[in-house]
Symmetry: C2
């Protein structure tokens, strides 16, 4: 489009943003209006995208990091012919695809859910990494950011990663409209404040007037021709641009303009420009390349093997069988054993350094491009990426997360390194799967199982060695469990997983010798949970004792309690969990101090059985 | 100390780091040795600290952001006479104060627990802010950072905040030893890579050889004399410096040196230098200034008031009564209503912009200095700071967190803005308190109650208005509940809190009209939970139905289930919670779609009562 047409298109996007928000009675028109010209020029002159084939491997990728500017995005969809005006006016209504913040669950052209600020650029980095290192395609990734969200550290994790990886297929467009939700941003219209930060992280930068369509056009061209560096376009804009009642004024965030009809008139009235978006270049999807039988590692029963080691070996094997498997780690691959994958498949391994938010975001970006990511760090440090995991679930993203060094069992390093809240965090994620294996063969099978699931899948691994108790051909369906000790005289059931499963077995043996037979269930699938087996154990033994190397809230104990949340009679439930703040000590000392070792289980079981006798 | 003595002191710190780690059989001596000269010069020539009076208001504050270098810290304590050699050799043993990563729970000289990287500098910013804006004292804050942790976005949130606030009382010392856990860092020994990033965030920077004690001494002096800017000292060092077997070598992270005796000999043998640390200047604590009766806002029963509004008013009132109350917000103060506090107490209000990690870290820093922080953002966005909340609990920090816009009840904005996992996250934090009020008077009382508690306290507020159902003089003890509907004929008990409490009351009225009396419990204290009242309701009505605007995992339903985790008989438990991924819709539509409105409660209750009849 030429200058005049671009100006008109920008005004149309403003008009439609105003109209959509007015119809909804809520929304963010002013945040849309500031970026309307930036969007118009991108859509008309630079984006290469087939709206009828959103999965086209050659499509450029656009991420609206300032997700609240959704009216602008939907107005652009309308201009591109992807939606019609009637649908535009369903914005924010029950059942509409056009949500307050865009999600790929509803709209095929959305790469990732946004609305929690500072997440679009990190995910964009993941997509750009895919383009460079996995897809080997020359699509371009465009991310429209707000200026307020530049305060989020995740933006600078992304800047660091992209700068270091020289992602010249990535362009960040920063809409510097000076006003956040509550008032002026830290840097107002000081474009250089943003530019010099990006430059420090080795980006190319361009500062422009974000309402000068020719300048915008040139800036996009400069981004496209810049080699060896990502580009940040820092654009000075006015929030609410074009409507005097709101333009550059405080107190106009997140609400319709006061008088929509007047605003539309002031903007020159409705238009119906239709953009012919550039076709994407031909490309082919590579992620289905490579396949074959997965030859999982096999471990001898009785051997002592850390589940983190089994994870590493299994992931490497899975990577050999499946060409779509990629691994990401937060600079602890020697601990998580992701390094086993790195050694065999360096081309599909991504070192994310100590930046867990960027790591998870990169996984989301790669999953959006069809890859099967496994992202690993200490279970404790996945809490750093909680909001990214939450948003990944809003996206419906299919990613695998693996947290090592779970629980007090890590020993001397102390509480800062102990994953004690990870099960609670991961269970509460919508649609998640939470797995916690106790031996090497089980781990290997679950690593492969994860790849076949939907949504967020979490695997919890342990630092120390534990005995291999299952044969290599045993199967471990997600949602299942294993009953490892059972008789028709069982006085109670001990439910455990991971490191405490071994303590439970030792306790069961001691109790059995003392004339108290108990059932032991290995609840390796913490979510979904095996309700049927738990129900049967409850009916047959009357009492369930859960034992977990985790806080008492949100973990295994709660998962078991939920299994009885169907209104039917509930057995007696007792839980052993980590109730104190651990210090440094050996793994055995830690388990004992937390009251989750075999001795503690034995004592608790005795007490319960005796109580039952008294009762 | 002079040059020769400083060199000797550095060697002593290395020797003691090697010895402590050797005695423990684990630990991070090489990460300690790189920073030994930086620590020696600071301790001997610049730090002003009274180890016998760690609470002295004039003390400088030292934060070991690279917490794994704890052997260095403890060796410095020994050199300062704070601990003796016997205690040094208890490092990482059960019961020792000298944990793998330092915590203030055990050691009075530690400002904040570290060990999750990238957290020390943000907390240091909080302490420096206290010094400048609250304590009005001229103590200096020194933060020793690792180079690996520069990849964490939280470091740049801190850099941004400190640069913008011109915190010239803050010095970051970056120990650029080139090697992370797994291998080389992103930037190796490229000091300028770090320096230009800090400069971009408006810091003064000094690049030095981190093993040249005179250069270090001059750099500290330059930091002290720099006005209007924080200073970052970027120091080139060698990991494992001084012991050839490990110096600058990969694969030597996080383990004792191979031969400790040989290493000690190579370092010139043990020394017993004792440092006379400079006395702090006189100063007085200001945070106890201002006090009086808290005149909480009073709301008329029957009025419609959003609990977030009541929170804002109550916090402002509390701030008037108590001079130690400070408020921090993540650039959404107009939504959380923290702005009410800001208007009345601007000198104690901290705008943290959209940087939730820095916000929580600043609160931790201020709490360490004796202030009573309330930090607020949307409940959903507190997930961004999960790891900081976790570490705050390791610190034993006393901070108040308030999450607004809880649940699907926010309406059109959609799932990205809905706090649906916050109760699960906060409940699993060790020693936390979790409160969820349903009306304005209850909110006001709980805001004041929070200040008297230990540990992490969380208050969940709602966006929309709700009816005031309690009088302004009603009391709401933490750990209590309110029974709002009760008869001796109750067929079941509905347990709710916040927005669903009102739905529960409406359902109870409808059920009562239909001849089914039900009990209603307002479980405003989600943790600790009122076991006695729940137990009594269970015994008297046989069945508890929980209803929550939260995911089914980790929230109210689990809290109630845990109340019955003592091995005694359990009632029938059923839960209504948010089980789908919401889209945009009105608040009422959202509650209905999630199955947690009055109609859903009524239907579930009918079904349960009928089932009980059949059974």
């Amino acid at each position: 489009m030429n200058t005049g047409e671009l100006v008109e298109l920008g005004q149309q996007l403003r008009v439609d943003s105003v109209r959509a928000s007015a119809a909804a009675g809520s929304g963010h028109p002013t945040s849309s209006m500031s970026a309307a010209d930036l969007m118009a020029v991108l859509l008309a002159n630079h984006l290469r995208y087939d709206f009828e084939r959103p999965a086209h491997p050659g499509n450029d990728r656009f991420v609206l990091s300032k997700g609240h500017a959704s009216p602008l995005l939907y107005s652009a969809y309308k201009a591109a012919g992807a939606i019609d005006d009637d649908e535009l006016l369903t914005f924010r209504k029950l059942g509409s695809r056009l949500e307050g913040h865009p999600t790929p669950q509803r709209l095929p052209w959305v790469e990732t859910a946004t609305g929690s600020l500072g997440q679009g650029l990190p995910v964009g980095v993941g997509i750009a990494l895919s383009g460079k290192r996995l897809d080997h395609a020359d699509y371009r990734v465009w991310v429209l950011c707000g200026d307020s969200e530049m305060a989020e550290g995740s933006v600078w994790e992304a800047a660091e990663h992209a700068g270091h990886e020289r992602l010249d297929n990535l362009t960040a467009i920063v809409d510097v409209n000076r006003l956040g939700q509550r008032g002026p941003t830290r840097h107002g219209h000081d474009l250089d404040a943003y530019a010099r930060r990006f430059r420090a992280f080795d980006w190319h930068t361009v500062e422009i007037d974000g309402h000068d369509v020719d300048a915008i056009d040139r800036a996009y061209g400069e981004a496209l021709s810049t080699r060896g560096q990502p580009t940040a376009i820092i654009a000075r804009t006015l929030k609410g641009k074009g409507v005097q009642a709101v333009e550059d004024r405080e107190g106009q965030h997140g609400k319709p303009v006061p008088d929509a009809d007047e605003a539309v008139a002031e903007l020159g009235g409705p238009r119906d420009l239709r953009v012919q978006v550039h076709e994407p270049p031909s490309a082919r999807a590579l992620h289905s390349v490579g396949s074959g039988q997965t030859e999982l590692p096999r471990f001898e029963t009785g051997d002592e093997v850390a589940t983190r080691n089994a994870f590493g070996q299994a992931l490497a094997a899975l990577g050999t069988a499946r060409g779509d498997v990629v691994a990401l780690d937060g600079e602890v691959g020697d601990s998580t054993r992701a390094e086993y994958f790195a050694k065999e498949h360096p081309e599909r391994y991504f070192e994310c350094y100590i930046a867990e938010q960027q790591m998870v975001a990169a996984a989301v970006g790669m999953a959006a491009r069809g890859w099967m990511p496994y992202a690993t760090t200490f279970a404790a440090f996945l809490t750093r990426a909680h909001d990214f995991v939450r948003m990944a679930s809003v996206s419906g993203s299919g990613i695998n997360l693996v947290g090592s060094h779970a629980g007090v069992a890590i020993g001397q390093d102390g509480p800062s390194q102990m994953g004690l809240e990870d099960l609670a965090m991961m269970r509460a994620i919508h649609g998640s799967t939470v797995l916690y294996p106790c031996d090497a063969n089980q781990t290997a099978h679950l690593v492969a199982e994860m790849a076949g699931l939907e949504g967020i899948r979490y695997l919890r691994t342990s630092r120390g060695e534990s005995k291999v108790i299952y044969g290599p051909d045993e199967e471990f369906p997600v949602g299942g469990s294993k009953v490892l000790r059972s008789s028709d005289r069982d006085r109670l059931t001990v439910v455990a997983a991971g490191v405490t499963l071994h303590e439970a077995l030792a306790a069961a043996d001691a109790l059995d010798e003392g004339g108290i037979p108990v059932r032991v269930i290995d609840l390796y699938s913490v979510k979904p949970v095996d309700r049927a087996t738990l129900r049967q154990a409850a009916e047959e033994t009357g009492c369930l004792l859960t034992v977990e190397d985790h806080r008492e809230e949100g973990g295994l104990g709660d998962a078991v309690a939920e299994a009885f949340g169907d209104g039917r009679p509930v057995p007696r439930l007792i839980r052993l969990a980590v109730r104190t703040m651990p210090g440094s000590a050996s793994p055995d000392e830690q388990l004992h101090a937390a009251g989750i070792d075999a001795e503690s289980i034995t004592a608790a079981a005795r007490l319960l059985v005796e109580e039952a006798v008294v009762a």
